[in-house]
């Protein structure tokens, strides 16, 4: 039985954001993306710093789309728990496997000898 739920419950006490607020978020996202691309062109930045900064920017964009466009910041906490749980488990699995195949992989010596220069 597909149930509607309360009409007013879907946004809690938060009124529908107006077009201006959306435009603001869109502008911030554009600027962040621009910055990400600019980083790519800065050859002076060290590799680890580059990766670190890109990861931070990526997380910021991710968070903004999830929080505002997907409305998670304003909706029932239940949804944050559900999505957070899925995202959390996925991140842990990705990191674990990444570690298991790089830091802990016994064949790492072999990787370093590949012509592509892979396995940095």
């Amino acid at each position: 039985m597909s149930s509607q739920g309360r009409h007013d419950a879907s946004h809690g006490e938060h009124a529908h954001p107006d077009a201006r607020e959306y435009a603001l978020i869109a502008s911030i996202l554009t600027i962040v993306t621009g910055f990400e691309i600019a980083l790519y062109f800065f050859t002076g930045v060290g590799y680890s710093t580059l990766v670190g900064m890109l990861m931070v920017l990526m997380v910021v964009k991710f968070g903004m789309v999830v929080g505002w466009y997907m409305h998670l910041k304003f909706d029932e906490r239940l949804y944050t728990w559900i999505f957070g749980f899925g995202l959390g488990v996925a991140i842990v699995i990705v990191l674990s496997l990444y570690l298991l195949f790089t830091v802990f992989h016994p064949a790492e010596e072999v990787l370093r000898q590949l012509p592509s220069g892979a396995g940095h």
Binding site: M1, I93, L100, F101
Partner: protein
């Protein structure tokens, strides 16, 4: 005055409402009780198929160097036995119980998405057929239920065997996922008023944890199997060592699914015994909160142990140690549950009906399986046990001794509720005794021959290794199991010769399903109950023991109403029941999806047809109304 009911455009009343009859009513059903029955019957059929596969394996292993079955057929038999028992028997049998019980136990009229529910069943049936079609081409899947790369590559598995497995598993995965989403939403969102989460029957909690495990674990399997499909069909190189591909990636992706999968197989069984044991001990479950939280802990920890299936691949000392510790840790919440069941039985007023015997059998057999499991958790010990019959003993003790005994217990316990007839308890005890003896005779000796080095998955063994006697004993045990199943089938058949006149509550149950008729009406409850405890029926029947609470049958479903203690009856708001419409769109979409995958095996034209049928079916489904009069769109 009877309540008005609307269904498929007809308006009638509860006292005139008749259950629809005929094949078409079953094909188009969206009723959770009918869908549960379909799952039950289909899974019992595949249980017989898997059982015959097991008997053939046992006959082949009765003596050394037997030529009863060839090596390649043997590989197909053990692969299909495992695949069948896991995906076509235990999971769907659990789904049968989810379907039959969860809406009733939470006081709902049906699940959140009845049509999706029907879809889950049909896609299971077609997936089960697809994966078994390989037998008819002499090409049943033959690389083990876990299909390790790169044995499964184009190079080493050039026939269609692995393709049947790949396509079948993808289709079956959709069934489990759809069902899991449905039950998560149902349990969170469709509970009767007053049914807080901590008043849910333990079975419902275990269903919820199982469903969460399914939706988190199956995607990993889907990805792994997709990469395998691409390697086999589109020449990708994920698992091809010559191109630096990594067979180990398959193992990780598979076991990230595979370990939670075993908890998916056992948690519903834990739920069932948690319902049966209290009723036949006449005591509520000991430590309800602990049992629930232990189930949740098992679910979460279940994601942290997968590489214990890979202790012998050379992960390195640090990962191996980490996974060994997490595996030992998971024994803790499991132990908590076992102590809670023992605590329930302790000091209880016990009745040893068949369901109770099955439940107690489950607990004891599971303890044995758990002990061998803890042994596996130690990597040095496991390096000796890996790939030997010791492992086969372990998982049969937990899956057969654990899951199957419990599921049979559930069948005996809830049979009167859903079919309106009782199974004969005397025959049930014969079934139990034979199955218990046969099971232990078959699987206990596997611990010994395993430690002595008998390898898994090999079609024969040499003479003079001293394994002959026990293998013969195991085969005898297997046939005793078969005999016990025959007794059960006779019992089931005989029960249908009776009229459906079982009482509503033959066992003096505690939970809401016993407050309905046997079988329940299609709409489940005439009035939606309002719940004030996790043992609502015992509270109603034994107020001197459990305290006086408002009668859940009489209280208004509108929580703003105050119970009128004097009269006990209120103005009810649900004077109109809406039933979801029967429909065949879920069936059509299932056919489309199955044909889409089958085309890989039988020709691309079939895939095109399948995809077209699927799209047609989806639009038909979305555009037709779920309730009320069929609209003209």
């Amino acid at each position: 005055m009877a309540t008005q009911v609307t269904t498929a455009g007809r308006i009638t009343t509860t006292d005139q409402f008749a259950y629809p009859k005929g094949i078409w009513s079953w094909i188009s059903t969206v009723d959770h009780k009918r869908i549960g029955t379909l799952y039950l019957v289909t899974s019992m059929f595949f249980f017989l198929v898997g059982g015959i596969e097991a008997l053939l394996i046992r006959i082949q292993l009765t003596e050394p160097e037997s030529t009863f079955i060839s090596a390649s057929t043997y590989n197909q038999l053990f692969t299909m036995h495992g695949t069948t028992m896991i995906f076509l028997v235990v999971m769907p049998l659990s789904a049968a119980f989810f379907n039959l019980l969860v809406p009733l136990m939470i006081g709902a009229r049906d699940v959140a998405f009845p049509r999706l529910n029907a879809f889950s069943y049909w896609v299971y049936l077609f997936g089960a057929i697809l994966i078994n079609l390989g037998w008819f081409h002499g090409a049943a899947p033959d690389a083990g239920w876990f299909a390790y790369a790169n044995l499964t590559s184009q190079e080493y598995s050039a026939g269609q065997n692995v393709d049947y497995w790949v396509m079948g598993v993808q289709v079956l995965g959709l069934s489990s996922l759809a069902s899991a989403f449905n039950f998560i939403v149902t349990i969170i969102n469709m509970r009767a008023p007053g049914m807080g989460m901590m008043r849910l029957p333990v079975f419902v909690w275990m269903t919820l944890v199982t469903a969460v495990l399914i939706v988190m674990a199956f995607p990993s399997l889907t990805v792994g199997v997709t990469l395998l499909l691409f390697d086999r069909w589109f020449d990708t190189l994920f698992f091809v060592p010559e191109a630096n591909g990594q067979p180990l990636l398959w193992q990780h992706l598979f076991w990230i699914f595979g370990h939670p999968e075993v908890y998916i197989l056992i948690l519903p069984a834990f739920g069932i015994v948690s319902e049966i044991i209290p009723v036949f001990s006449k005591k509520p479950i000991f430590g309800y909160t602990a049992v629930v939280f232990a189930g949740i802990a098992i679910g979460i920890l279940g994601f942290s142990v997968w590489a214990h299936h890979m202790f012998t691949v050379g992960l390195g000392p640090v990962p191996t140690a980490v996974f060994a510790i997490s595996t030992m840790l998971i024994a803790l919440p499991t132990g908590v549950k076992i102590f809670n069941w023992i605590g329930t039985v302790w000091g209880g007023d016990l009745t040893f009906t068949t369901p109770m015997l099955m439940a107690l059998g489950m607990v004891s057999m599971f303890i044995i399986g758990g002990l061998s499991g803890v042994m596996h958790a130690s990597p040095p010990v496991d390096s000796h046990q890996q790939d030997s019959y010791f492992v086969v003993a372990h998982f049969h003790y937990v899956l057969f001794g654990g899951s199957l005994f419990s599921l049979f217990g559930g069948i005996y316990y809830w049979w009167p509720k859903f079919f309106g007839r009782l199974l004969n308890d005397g025959l049930g005890k014969v079934h139990f005794a034979l199955m218990f003896i046969g099971f232990n005779l078959t699987f206990f000796p596997m611990h010994w021959v395993g430690v002595q080095g008998m390898p898994r998955r090999i079609y024969t063994y040499a003479e003079g290794l001293n394994w002959d006697f026990w293998n013969m004993a195991m085969t005898v045990g297997a046939f005793i199991i078969a005999l016990s199943i025959l007794v059960f089938l006779i019992n089931a058949f005989l029960s249908f010769r009776d009229e459906p006149n079982a009482p509503d509550d033959p066992w003096d149950g505690a939970t809401l399903e016993w407050a309905t008729s046997s079988p329940p009406k299609p709409y489940n409850f005439e009035k939606v109950p309002v719940v004030t405890s996790n043992i609502p029926l015992w509270v109603e029947k034994y107020p001197e023991v459990y305290g006086h609470e408002p009668d859940f049958r009489e209280t208004s479903p509108d929580p703003e109403d105050q119970p009128d203690v004097e009269h006990g009856i209120h103005e009810h708001h649900d004077d109109h029941i809406h039933m979801p419409n029967p429909t065949i769109w879920p069936l059509i979409v299932s056919i489309g999806i199955t044909l889409g995958f089958a085309g890989f095996l039988y020709g691309w034209i079939i895939t095109f047809i399948g995809v077209a049928v699927m799209f047609l079916g989806i639009y038909g489904w979305v555009l037709s109304p779920a309730f009320g009069e069929p609209d003209h769109v």
